[in-house]
């Protein structure tokens, strides 16, 4: 702090000149720039240390044969770990399970979130109550919610199991995945609903009224006015939800622990680290998950174009 204070005090007039877009750097602009770097430095250092460095380290580990059960056998083995993972049925099954959970939960959450947003938007009475209540699934600890679902589906103890003829869906692959998707939908619909509500409230009421006067039905107004105007909000909400859903871990860990072919890629990575103690394979799975997430993000951002989140901040 002490080294920059003298420079900063000379700021006033030149800084404003620089802000108007003059290319040359005045004393004040340089001071402003230095302050900017100082202010972001701590955040950048923490993020680099905890996220960027480990990813680089994971790339290095993924090229090693490295098992904590036999650390003396550590050796550079090139892409052999990748070959092992990509030729393993466990990886592909986990990837399929993850994709199925992601696609179904995000799609259904979008529809339900839209309905929730419309209820919240149109409700005149008790809007606060409904909004507060619908925030509870969003806020509740995922693990706590997962236990609720697990006990609800436990035969001879759970109300849902009892309602469905004392069934035990968590012991069956397809049924367990359906239960996981339901739990995921319950947890994330409020978030989706609130994001969409914010988009919905930006649509001018006049536009809806004009269309109503012209004889458009409710469905026509929804498809022709509401949806197009909400496209940016929908895309942002979808991107967040898709990336979040792809890394699903807590719910599956509690509900099935990944048994009966219900494990997601995150569960697979965790098992490789803590049950097989295989750092090489575990890191390889980490890198592959990272690549999958990057692909999903790129697909969405190409769809966004300039409406990508943060792009307007970046231009400032």
């Amino acid at each position: 702090m002490s080294t920059t204070t003298p420079a900063v005090t000379t700021t006033p007039t030149p800084a404003h000149a620089a802000k108007k877009g003059k290319p040359e750097l005045s004393e004040g602009a340089r001071a402003e720039r230095r302050l900017g770097f100082m202010l972001i430095a701590p955040a950048v250092i923490v993020m680099l240390a905890v996220a960027a460095y480990p990813i680089v380290y994971a790339v290095y580990l993924s090229l090693q044969r490295y098992n904590l059960a036999a650390p003396q056998n550590k050796a550079f083995i090139g892409f052999a770990n990748y070959a092992a993972v990509l030729s393993s049925q466990y990886w592909w099954q986990a990837l399929w399970v993850t994709l199925i959970i992601t696609v179904f939960s995000v799609a259904i959450t979008l529809v339900l979130g839209m309905l929730l947003a419309m209820v919240l938007h149109r409700t005149l009475f008790g809007r606060g109550t409904v909004r507060t209540t619908s925030l509870i699934p969003y806020g509740i600890v995922t693990v706590a919610a997962a236990y609720s679902w697990q006990y609800a589906w436990t035969p001879s103890q759970g109300y849902l199991s009892a309602a469905f003829n004392n069934s035990a869906p968590l012991t069956n692959q397809v049924q367990a995945i359906i239960v996981i998707i339901i739990a995921e939908i319950w947890k994330t619909t409020p978030f989706m609903g609130l994001l969409l509500l914010a988009g919905l409230s930006l649509i001018p009421e006049d536009l809806q009224n004009a269309a109503r006067v012209d004889g458009a039905t409710g469905w026509q107004r929804f498809v022709k006015i509401t949806l197009p105007l909400m496209k940016p909000a929908i895309l942002v909400a979808l991107l967040f939800r898709t990336l979040d859903s792809f890394r699903i871990f807590d719910t599956i860990f509690i509900l099935t622990a990944g048994n009966n072919g219900t494990g997601s890629v995150s569960i697979l990575g965790y098992d490789n680290l803590f049950n097989a103690l295989n750092l090489g394979i575990g890191s390889t799975i980490s890198i592959l998950i990272f690549i999958c997430v990057a692909i999903i993000a790129v697909i969405y951002i190409l769809g966004f174009g300039t409406a990508a989140p943060g792009s307007d901040i970046g231009k400032r």
Binding site: L35, G139, V265, I285
Partner: protein
């Protein structure tokens, strides 16, 4: 606005009712289980046939839950305070100052916000063991700060853009340095945004499970959600349904309080930037 007919009103009211019921049933089920005696747990009805406070008195006198609860509160608060502090500085710089590399910073924050956490668990586990951070408070606090920062930078830079900056200019004309202008003028105006951010970052720390089970091995640093896994029943053959449900209710109570008191702020924080952006 169309005319509100009685049928329409009933329609919306019942829609409200459905929303509230769907949101609350799984929570009420946990409350019900937590109040059931071990015998009553074997009865799937929603209303307990036999009531007991035993599950609560059990966990609230056991260090197996109290210590993790303390860890959750301590680790969550420390991570939140540091993350919001660092994020405010960075967000101020992004919203107000001219310097190169802003786009890179935003990109990096977004990338980290979207990171699959499991991808970092393996390398961080190795690093933490080497540095002696494994199974310590800082071993969780440092990653929580790192993952709170993108959220904080994102929400706060959206809030900071709404602040009337003429006031800062006025302060500078009166002879304040940019640093003084930040502390004396802007920080008080930014306080609501910082409260919002703090709530969301704290909820994220409170909620975390994957890092908590990966980087802890004893109750010295295990947080409450991770500790529930290790509860034991009356015998090895008994699933501790009652105690786990009671613990789940206890860790849900702060969330419900937050939601009741800060509903507007939470909604504003969740939707800031996302829609304008």
């Amino acid at each position: 606005m169309a005319v509100i007919t009685p049928q329409r009103r009933i329609g919306w009211l019942s829609a409200n009712f459905v929303v509230i019921a769907l949101a609350l049933i799984p929570v009420l089920w946990l409350v019900s289980l937590s109040l059931k005696t071990p015998t009553a747990i074997l009865d799937p009805s929603f209303i307990p046939s036999q009531w007991t406070w035993g599950n609560y008195s059990g966990i609230l006198t056991s260090s197996q839950f109290l210590r993790p609860l303390l860890n959750s509160i301590g680790i969550g608060l420390i991570s939140t305070i540091i993350a919001v502090g660092l994020a405010s500085m960075a967000a101020y710089a992004i919203a107000r100052l001219q310097f190169p590399g802003k786009g890179v910073l935003i990109g990096m924050a977004l990338l980290i916000a979207m990171f699959p956490l499991i991808a970092l668990v393996t390398p961080l586990f190795t690093i933490e063991r080497a540095l002696g951070l494994f199974n310590t408070w800082p071993g969780l606090i440092i990653p929580y700060i790192a993952f709170g920062l993108p959220l904080g930078i994102y929400i706060l830079s959206a809030f900071f853009r709404e602040i009337p900056w003429e006031l800062e200019k006025a302060a500078k004309v009166d002879g304040a340095t940019p640093f003084q202008a930040f502390i004396r003028v802007i920080a008080p105006l930014a306080a609501p945004g910082m409260v919002t951010t703090a709530i969301l970052v704290f909820l994220a720390c409170w909620n975390d499970f994957i890092l908590a089970i990966s980087f802890t091995s004893t109750i010295a640093s295990r947080t409450a959600p991770a500790a529930m896994e290790y509860f034991s029943g009356g015998s090895v053959f008994t699933v501790p349904t009652g105690p786990i449900s009671a613990a789940a209710v206890v860790i849900t109570i702060p969330i419900i309080i937050f939601v009741l008191f800060f509903q507007r702020r939470i909604v504003a924080g969740l939707t800031s930037g996302a829609v304008k952006g």
